[in-house]
Amino acid sequence: MASELRDTIPTFGSTGSEEQQDEVSLTNWSALTNASFAKSWGEVVAIVLVALAVVGGAEAFIRLRDVPAYTFPAPSAVGQALWNNFDLFRPHLSATLQVMCIGYVIGAVVGIVLAALITQFPFAEKIITPYVLLLVTTPMIALVPLLVQKMGFGMAPRIIAVALAAGPMVMINSATGFRRTDLARIALARSYGATTVQIFTKVRFPLALPMIIVGLMVGAIFGMLTAVGAEIVGSGEGLGNRLMFYSSRIQMANFWAIIVMLAVMGILIYVVFYWIGKRWASWQA
């Protein structure tokens, strides 16, 4: 539609850049929303049985072959450690969550705002994009030793690392969303006398929202990875620090308990954004 429009009406005032793209992004949203959950009790039973078989099989294998606990603890031992030692883990969990959340919120807000701004100015975008790509591709954990050297072992260096890891991810995806200018719908809004702000809030932003949500999800996962990595590299607390601590003492049950906690956090991030996407971006299916 819009391309046809442009045949007859090539100029479009100042609103919108030239491209109308249906881009394929790194993270294909439809792959998420099409993932179907269990449809019947039979499916639920099958899923649970397979899970039990995997865990039980591991348990049986480790017991029957007498695999030593320092090599690989039995799932039951990991479960016990998680249950019994949770009070030991809790302060570290909360430290990790704090770093993650603060850094992520800062990064995400800055990322979305910057994306909204630079996509309005194609020239600025050309200048800024290489640096954003640099931030996306460079592991931000690499900055942590430097930041620790300057700022000590507090939370600040880790928060900065998380923000730098999550922010560009959010930004690059949001920018893709904001670049999808729908000339026809912008023209529609303008025909009602819409202001630039109204065009942004009522057309551009909703149009970009699915990509923003994808960016927020990828950013959250990157933020978590960076938070844990930063704790491994330079911190006296946090789940990453505990990984180093327990592995150095060969307390593998505790070590695996931490891994399980991290896995659950990652899955929770995924599930939360899955539902957000379903609620706010399902129109794009």
Binding site: T8, S191, Q198, K202
Partner: protein, 309 residues
């Protein structure tokens, strides 16, 4: 002349490729387009909108395109005008200039006595694509203009319900656009446009993407709405039958540069039916219009050249 009151003959004398000696043979009762002043009864209604020497050039990678060249036209209050021409004749450009969405290189559009410099609340536009916002359901889509205009929709609720009923969309308020067929989407966009009661409705090839049956249905609907509401409608199309079926006057443009080729008053009685489009009278009109378009297309300089039959 049963519908004569709709026909304020246009005054299109300046530098435009209007062939004054050409007679509109098909409808014997219709006015022969002349440069002379129309008779008094035809001037009862003042023009709602006038296009004055509209000229639009734009630059593309390969050079300057003359989309419109010194085109003048007057549209009366309550009139149904179809702008007809082949692709690239600037008919959409003209309509978008009327809407205030695009500026003219030269000339101006005057609506209700004041020049159009941007979108005006008295006008509503219907696009080729229904252009519904995919993240809103039908009801929310129809309220989109109210949000933009910061208009309280409460006094319009009954009107919107009636309109939805009239176009056969009652009960579909909660549906998302992707759940509606193309025809339903376009009907929704018509309701959206009529909801805030604009005086002038501009339609840019609104049914071009629909199949022939749906198009007939939509044309009947538009005629009905027009007859009931008495809106001024400017309707751009490249479909000759559609133009003649709907219009009080069919304005034919020549391509590149877009100039006024000819204006055909259509005096067929209303309400018109689809069957009527197969009547000899109607077909004669179609042939006349088509001949005008063809001769216009052959005239590269777009000047005075219209082959007289």
């Amino acid at each position: 002349m049963p519908t004569g009151e709709h026909h304020v003959s246009i005054v299109a004398t300046e530098g435009v490729g209007v062939v004054q000696e050409r007679s509109v043979t098909s409808a014997s009762s219709s006015t022969v387009l002349t440069g002379t002043a129309p008779d008094a009864s035809r001037q009862r209604r003042p023009p709602t909108m006038s296009v004055e020497h509209a000229t639009k050039h734009y630059d593309t990678g390969t050079g300057t395109v003359h989309a419109l060249e010194d085109l003048s036209l007057e549209i009366a209050n309550g009139e149904f005008v179809c702008i007809l021409g082949p692709s690239g004749c600037g008919k959409s450009t003209l309509l978008w200039a009327m809407s205030g969405l695009h500026e003219l290189t030269n000339g101006r559009i005057v609506l209700n006595g004041s020049p159009v410099t941007g979108p005006r609340p008295e006008m509503g536009m219907i696009f080729q694509d229904a252009n519904l916002l995919p993240w809103r359901n039908l009801w929310q889509n129809i309220h989109f203009p109210f949000e933009i205009k910061r208009l309280d929709p409460k006094p319009y609720q009954a009107r919107i319900r009636d309109l939805l009923d009239e176009v056969g969309l009652a009960g579909f308020e909660k549906k998302m656009p992707r759940e509606l067929s193309g025809g339903m989407q376009q009907r929704a966009s018509i309701v959206r446009c009529l909801s805030f009661d604009p005086e002038v409705i501009l339609m840019d090839e609104p049914f071009g993407a629909l199949d022939a049956f749906t198009r007939d249905e939509m044309n009947l609907l538009i005629q009905k709405i027009w007859m009931e509401t008495g809106k001024t409608i400017v309707f751009v199309t490249h479909n000759v039958t559609e133009a003649i079926f709907l219009a009080d006057r069919v304005v034919v443009l020549t391509p590149r540069p877009g100039r006024l080729a000819h204006v055909f008053p259509i005096d067929l009685p209303r309400p018109r039916t689809i069957d009527q489009t197969f009547s000899p009278e109607f077909i004669k009109l179609i042939l006349d219009v088509k001949r005008t378009i063809q001769s216009g297309a052959q005239t590269t300089n777009g000047g005075s050249g219209f082959a007289v039959d």
